[in-house]
């Protein structure tokens, strides 16, 4: 689909200029000494921990940032190209809690994280392994080891990690090299890990995030640099104002990566929505959210860098609200020309909880959108004519030659939608989509089989895992 616009190209350029002006004249606060030093060495001006970035530095960074890259997967068939033509869906991230109808809402734990990894692995439309729910029963200093191990041994898709300090990142990367039998060079010459770096809007990059940007840049791994700008709260109340702030922060992050290592892979991120004026909570799937997505897409294309958007829902339940919020975000992201859509399944409560049923009902949405984005089959118009001619007025096409040749593959087969009539639906218990989704995730987990090579990778990894744990893992940088 052709991306929509909310602004003229001239206006996009003017917003970009204003963001450069913000970075040059107001600057961004960077608490990380090493990051500040690096930027100063490259021409930034500092005043305490405020760093002002000249437009030339920023333009250099935009120039060296790669415009196309490959995210490697354990299974090479699942390698992902990330460029301005990509459409990559990823599952919920950042969720401390988990919910399903059978066990209720609870803190994320090792069991639910493992189950989510199995679920995500089971659906091709989800292109990356999950980072949520947070397995809170695993101590913080070992949690990265656990989630990485699960991703690598229960799935074969591209991996994702939190960047919570250099020590954890080093251990994550060591596990990848060891588990996949990669030399340091082989690791660095491809993207094996991606992470999301959120600035602390407005205009603040904290130690952990700056460290993550630099660590990932140094190892040539992918950072998705994403200000989380809530219009009316951490960002200006106007759409254009929020876009300028978000753009400025993303550019600052990009600049830090490229000054660390010119050519390091990055994606331009935007996750801007509005705050709900009634509750003060973040809102998702609102008109403002979609408008900000479309504007961010225009800015990303202005600088020519692949970009990420996000869907998600604020709903507390897997209901009509939650479905509409997520689907608004999915459609908005696609109309905005997003290349990678985070939180495309499962988010409840603005990301505080990932839902198992919500994951299933949202999967239907992204499967439908993925199908819609496929190229339409073009048919011979003579055979269209013949097909129509072969059916008498008032008749049906159930068994024409064209139908018989295509019916098995013609239409998207629903995952959770039940299209039976009211009587049949009632005879089957009159279940809502949420209730049916429970059976679906249960079946998925029951029928899950580990991918090829998982056992082999696990055998290679376990001694390393034991060693890392016996060394105390690594505490997160806080």
């Amino acid at each position: 689909m052709t991306p929509q616009k909310i602004m003229t190209d001239d206006r996009v350029a003017a917003l970009h200029e204003t963001a450069l002006h913000v970075l040059e004249d107001l600057g961004i606060k960077i608490t990380h000494q090493g990051a500040r030093d690096l930027l100063v060495k490259n021409g930034a001006v500092i005043d305490g921990d405020m760093v002002r970035l000249g437009r030339e530095m920023v333009e250099d960074a935009i120039a060296t940032a790669p415009k196309s890259m490959v995210l490697k997967a354990i299974n090479p068939d699942r390698d992902l190209t990330l460029d301005q033509n990509s459409l990559i869906f990823t599952p919920s991230g950042g969720c401390p809690n988990v919910y399903d109808r059978l066990r209720g809402r609870r803190p994320g734990d090792a069991e639910s994280y493992t189950e989510m990894a199995k679920l995500v692995q089971s659906f091709d439309v989800l292109h990356k392994m999950p980072v949520a729910p947070e397995p809170q029963d695993i101590p913080l200093h070992e949690r990265h080891i656990f989630t990485n191990l699960i991703q690598m041994t229960y799935g074969d898709k591209p991996l994702g990690h939190y960047a919570r300090g250099q020590a954890q990142t080093d251990q994550n990367f060591e596990m990848i090299c060891h588990g996949l039998n990669l030399s340091d060079d082989a690791f660095k010459s491809n993207i094996w890990s991606s992470t999301v770096i959120n600035s602390n809007s407005p205009r603040l990059l904290d130690d952990t995030m700056a460290q993550g940007l630099m660590d990932y840049a140094r190892y040539q791994q992918l950072t998705i640099i994403t200000p989380f700008c809530l219009s009316g709260a951490m960002a200006p109340i106007t759409t254009e104002g929020a876009l300028v702030l978000s753009h400025a922060e993303a550019l600052a992050g990009i600049t830090l990566t490229q000054m660390t290592n010119a050519g390091a892979p990055i994606a331009y991120g935007s996750f801007s929505s509005n705050v709900d004026m009634k509750s003060g909570s973040p809102a998702f799937g609102t008109p403002e959210h979609v408008r900000l997505q479309i504007g961010a897409g225009q800015l990303a294309r202005h600088i020519g860098i692949p970009w990420r958007a996000a869907a998600g829902s604020a709903s507390n339940a897997t209901d009509a609200q939650g479905a509409a919020e997520n689907l608004m975000g999915i459609w908005g992201a696609i109309q905005a020309g997003a290349n990678i859509i985070l939180h495309s399944t499962g988010w409840l409560e603005g990301g505080l909880t990932v839902g198992f049923e919500k994951t299933i009902t949202d999967l239907e949405q992204i499967q439908s959108m993925a199908e819609l984005c496929q190229k339409m089959e073009q048919v011979e118009l003579q055979s269209v004519f013949d097909d129509i001619a072969s059916v008498q007025p008032g008749g049906h096409f159930f068994d024409t030659a064209e139908t018989m040749a295509r019916f098995a593959e013609a239409f998207y087969p629903p995952l959770v939608a039940d299209l039976s009539n009211h009587g049949t639906w009632q005879d089957h218990g009159g279940l809502t989509a949420e209730e049916r989704a429970t059976t679906i995730w249960q079946d998925c987990l029951e029928n899950y089989t580990r991918p090829q090579h998982s056992a082999e990778i696990e055998d290679r990894l376990m001694p390393l895992v034991d060693r890392l744990k016996s060394q105390g893992g690594a505490a997160p940088l806080t």
Copy 2:
């Protein structure tokens, strides 16, 4: 938004040619003698009740069909322009049953029809009065009188009617003239009624529909000519095949109206989706539905005529499935450049039931889309800069000058979405969107007030209504 395309312009022209070829070489079955005679007089070739339409007739009809028109409302502030830039939302049509959480699923009746009229009148985003649910407790020969009376005395938006034979249509139009104090000429020189005419796909136009097309054309009222083509059932299984059939049938209907009365107002209609291969039921909000919407939009623009699409859901419940199906159809229609979107709220069970709660949750969707389609406010970039400058890094924008100036109107205020956090949500009963919607429609009905002039119109109408009823109303043409 700029309409999307699934085909090149050349391909659209080729599909149009194929449809002309279908009409010219295969023809369409028209059971109505008068319609056949009229078409023959204008050059059609008949063989029994098969009518073959030459391309010149069709092209003449496209040329005389108006490209822009005004749908009059009782309240002139609610007059609607229908052209290729319009975006008009209308509520559920065609539903025999009604559902709400308090009273359950039941046949539509006078009470629920009246309540639906009040609900629809209460929301500006719904642009026309409803024709559903069907008030089944009113005998068929009086039902048109009842629904027309309710529309005219409980609302002030443009009216809609079923065309179920000339006698009923005449009585409907007589009521409008009498109730609104219009001369015959004043009535005919404006559009006061619109109706939907569905062909009986494939390639069949029955007596009632042909009669409706001619009646409405003669009185210069609006017909929305809409083949209901289910791909794989009443239409070819391929997207392009279904588009060709639907287009041919729409063109046949348009031709009949223009041969009846050149310049009679019409809209090009399309309501094509796929059949569910598992249940045989119509599916809505599927990738195929959206693709057919986008293709129909391209064909409509090819012939330059404003066009209608439809949303709707097959779900049996006001749940995540129903929400996603409807929103897919709404987004699809808007991306297809539709000018009028029918069934944009309330459809359950593929239209067999209209839901009160479903109407409310779908209203949130179309209110959001309507808001999104508003032009974005452009702000001074200097004031954006100043706003950002006024907040320290890590601070907030809750009380900046820009925020204070705008916060009351800045964001779309949710109708049914609850964005409170999990604890607050639970404290308020942990209600789903569907459950909250019950309170909303109840409040709407409780706070409903009849529009200005309603009593006056009712006073004028009641003697006519009594007379029409005492004459036995009018039986529908079957």
